[in-house]
Amino acid sequence: MLAYLLKRLLLMIPTLAIISIISFWVINLPPGNYVDAFIAQMAGQGQIPDFETRAQMEQMYGVNQPIYVQYFKWITRALRGDFGQSFEWRRPVVELLGDRLARTIAISLVTIVFVYTVAIPIGIFSALHKYSLWDYILTFIGFLGLSIPNFSLALIMLYLGFEYFNMSVGGLFSPEFKNAPWSIARALDFLSHLWVPIIVVGASGTAGLIRVTRANLLDELNKQYVVAARARGMPRRRLLWKYPVRVAMNPVISSAAFILPAVVSGSTITAIVLNLPTTGPIYLRALQSQDMYVAGAFILLLSSLTVIGTLISDLLLAWADPRIRFGGQK
């Protein structure tokens, strides 16, 4: 297990390096460099910076140096936790993203838990009652969940919430709790808002996972060992939980590799539509105003977290399945 862990950790380094290069590439995509943009922004507000400030900034960001030097300056600062300044907000990027990033991670984690706790029982139920009415209904709902894009579901929720429940679905807090200190009432209010983004973000992942669970369990149930165990009089329920379900779980665990990026992706767009105080709206804002250090930090942090999350799911899979742990040592 330790060898496997080390191998996976080593493999992660080039991945993270490439992610950082892509993030830096996105930072540099818009025409013009950061210092020009910053000075244009200041000039727009009537403050003309003197020549010295400009030279100082050019030195700091290395804008006149080759691109790889700029990259190394950026990444070494980033590794120390300094992602540059947001010129729109006039604050360090870390400060800007900090709280919001924590909330993004929280929502993503809760969504993942939601996806797995809902999808696995439904998938198992569907497989056990193959071609029954419930199976058809659940399959159809699953397809629907897979086909309604996050942002449309969010828009529909906004409309339904307003029209029929007379509540504002957007945000994570009601107006009266927005800036209040944490209390039980505020926590309850938070929870009452949280379920909307979770359902919106989790819908497609849940639908996909139901299908994975169902298909794999069906394959497993048709195998001869199941028939043999039944023939020997093993109780149906015990047999089911002890063997086929456990075997069918492996692809379910490994599907975290596609569910995680999908959830992160979905929560970004959902947060924009529902106007949640997470990183999504800030990211869109940063892209619109070409505040590229914010955007770059967002891509870097979010993608790195996704990769780390995928690693954790791989480790879980290795823990659950010894064939993977000892793979390659035949």
């Binding site: 992610i19 942002f151 449309s152 828009l155 409309y159 970004t268 990211y283």
Partner: protein
């Protein structure tokens, strides 16, 4: 069709006199089989796939939905009652007019709509549209309208339906500038549906090339390409698309933005194709027919494109069908966020851009109608692709 086959061929066996399989036996009689069974044995792979697909009812319905959507995209000018840019200044944010058949207790086989009347809401004092039940406007087939250009080439002066000159027909309502939403959705179909095809064509090209290299040559190229796929798949796609799309200069002409967007979508979309191509080539290149071609001195690129690729075309079609909806959604999301195509062009995402905040949605809920088209398209592609996947391997079971 197929479930009858075993029975048919069993009958065929009984009817015919089979030659005895002795050493040096000369076949003196032929095995007679029924027409259907013969059709089965001589059918091409495409036909077999089609027969299996036909049994999948949901997939067939979805197939017709997809075809209908693409026909709409092709003939959108003719099918929409108004020009998509035409502004009706007297009807801003007009709600949808519903079709009626009974006026004053009299049934008419020709549907009609009621005109609008303006009233003031006693509470909010806002102007509101209500229907004016005294003014029925009957729909007419092929009314004469102002000349327009079909596909920008052919000049036509009729549209499929409309109403009398003084009336209006806004079946889906109008937007903030008084443009007919139905017409805008139909015109938008063209961009929304075709961008998926262009994106998929690009990702198919990238996927076959990279997957082919990876599977056929193996070694360092394989390792690098596989790592690249892994990394790209770990990326949350929408944020990355947003980041790249945001860098497109706002003064670019529509057509350039259109292709730029499809390239952006293809940049992340090729991995699934590459994965399938690599897997198939890995297993097929060891087969005898590939070896025979190699011994006959066929060049390697030709082996891949002429011998290996055709044997898994059906699998590729499945992957492609299932990846089109993701592309369509990608464009819709980007345009919705204002990072893709922009007004005055019409695509479903651009239309939904008008429905971004709660107040608009609450006051003018019909602006959400494009969502129905997005969901219908994605659902149809998913069902069809799923049925196709089951049918793609005609020799299984």
């Amino acid at each position: 069709m197929l479930e009858e086959l075993p029975k048919l061929s069993a009958n065929a066996g009984r009817d015919a006199t089979l030659p005895s399989p002795g050493v040096g036996a000369v076949p003196t009689s032929t095995v007679r089989i029924s027409r259907q069974a013969e059709a089965y044995y001589t059918a091409s792979q495409v036909q077999l796939i089609f027969w299996r697909l036909r049994k999948h009812r949901l997939a067939m319905i979805s197939f017709f939905v997809v075809v209908a959507l693409y026909l709409t995209a092709i003939f959108s000018e003719f099918l929409s009652p108004y020009e998509y840019t035409a502004r009706h200044a007297d009807f801003l944010y007009a709600p949808p007019q519903t079709l009626h058949f009974i006026h004053d207790g009299q049934f008419s086989p020709r549907p009609f709509v009621y005109g609008y009347a303006m009233t003031r809401d006693p509470k909010t004092l806002l102007e509101m549209y209500t229907q004016d039940a005294t003014k029925p406007y009957y729909l007419t087939w092929l009314p004469k309208v102002e000349p327009y250009k079909m596909w920008g080439v052919v000049e036509l002066d009729r549209r499929i339906f409309g109403t009398a000159e003084e009336g209006t027909v806004f079946l889906f309502g109008t937007d903030s500038l008084g443009r007919d939403l139905l017409s805008r959705i139909l015109y938008g179909t063209r961009i929304s549906l075709s961008i998926g095809l262009v994106g998929v064509a690009l990702s198919l090209f990238l996927g076959i090339m990279l997957g082919g290299i990876s599977g056929f040559y193996g070694g360092v190229a394989d390792v690098i390409i596989q790592r690249a796929i892994e990394i790209l798949r770990a990326f949350p796609d929408i944020p990355l698309w947003m980041g790249i799309a945001a860098a497109l200069p706002p003064n670019w002409p529509v057509i350039r933005v259109y292709f730029a967007i499809s390239i952006i979508l293809a940049l992340l979309g090729w991995t699934e194709v590459a994965r399938v191509v690599r897997g198939k080539i890995l297993s097929l290149r060891e087969q005898d027919f590939a070896m025979a071609a190699r011994l006959a001195g066929v060049r390697e690129r030709r082996i891949i494109t002429h011998h290996l690729l055709p044997s898994f075309t059906s699998h590729l079609i499945v992957v492609v069908t299932l990846s089109i909806p993701a592309m369509i959604l990608g464009e819709t999301v980007l345009s919705f966020l204002g990072l893709g195509l922009r007004h005055p062009v019409s695509s479903w995402g651009v239309l939904l851009q008008d429905a971004q905040n709660v107040r608009t949605i609450a006051s003018y809920p019909w602006l959400l109608i494009p969502i129905l088209f997005v969901v219908l398209t994605v659902l149809a592609f998913n069902f069809f692709g799923d049925g196709l996947r089951d049918a793609a391997d005609p020799y299984s079971d």
